[in-house]
Amino acid sequence: MKWALAALFMVGVVLVVAGLPMGQPQPDRAARFGGGVRVLPMTFSHSSHFGKPCATCHHEFADRTIGPTCMTCHVTDHRVAPLLAAQFHTLCQSCHLDESAAGRPSGPTRRCIACHLDDQAF
């Protein structure tokens, strides 16, 4: 049994390090959005978020700090770049969960690959 578990452990390590060998599009962690921080790609479409107040996500509208696109700042500013994953997961997921709980079309709430593919449009 210990050898079977050791083999499974090795399969797990390979899956984590190299990803799935086939069958699905593979996201990669790379420098994106003009910053040096290696991040996952993101799928986002403004058109499917019409109806939401812009300032829910675009805090710069309320802060009057309009400048480069939001992602540029979030991956280059050393104060917020380390918080990127936590901040965006909280922002996107909380809203999607609220919609889901209200029985409205919510988009993805948890599945990683549903958001982390590059659509070249974020």
């Binding site: 049994m1 797990g12 899956l15």
Partner: protein
């Protein structure tokens, strides 16, 4: 009966409207079934009934591995949660899997006798490792904060675990068929409630 009730109780603590498709919900249902099995295994077995406890342990490990590999093999982005920079709750989940695998391997004859000539010593170490595994698994579920976002849900889960681990419950004979049937039914219910009913 207690085992089936425990599986249902653990799964019932999760928010029924928290869902993200049958794939994700089934994978997490497996996680809850594994956690319930782990909690049940903390109740002492009657004297001379160690074999059923051992057999159920293998199934709990199997369901735990199914839960982990389900996501690794089915969601190409999930692996980034286990790479450097991944969140603490995922490392705790990995720790729980490794501890559970260690518990099973170290308790298996004849390796157990080689490592622990004294049964008392083995039992003590087995118990401490199991408590560490249970703590890591509970923190994995609670810190992920997805299905159990409210404090009362977390408190309920911890209370169930504490009662089984430290309460003076009647020794229980572990039953694999009951675990598989109750676990399968609970997993199906877990998914159906989220995908069909709500």
């Amino acid at each position: 009966m207690l085992l089936a009730g425990l599986i249902l109780a653990v799964a019932a603590l999760a928010d029924p409207w928290r869902a993200d498709g049958a794939f994700w919900d089934f994978g997490n249902a497996m996680g809850f079934v594994a956690l319930a099995g782990l909690i049940f295994q903390m109740i002492p077995a009657p004297r001379g009934q160690a074999r059923p406890h051992e057999r159920l342990g293998y199934w709990v490990l199997g369901v735990t591995l199914l839960h982990a590999f389900w996501f690794l093999a089915g969601d190409a982005a999930a692996r980034f949660y286990l790479l450097p920079g991944g969140p603490l709750h995922m490392w705790l989940g990995l720790a729980a899997v490794l501890l559970l695998a260690g518990l099973s391997i170290l308790a298996r004859m004849p390796d157990r006798l080689r490592l622990h000539p004294s049964y008392r010593h083995f039992r003590k170490l087995h118990r401490y490792l199991a408590l560490a595994c249970l703590a890591a698994a509970l923190l994995h579920v609670l810190l992920s904060g997805f299905y159990l976002p409210h404090g009362w849900q977390g408190a309920g889960l911890v209370a169930l675990a504490l009662i089984c681990a430290f309460g003076r419950l009647r020794p229980q004979v572990a039953a694999v068929p009951a675990y598989l049937m109750a676990g399968g039914a609970t997993a199906a219910l877990f998914v159906l409630i989220r995908e069909v009913a709500l």
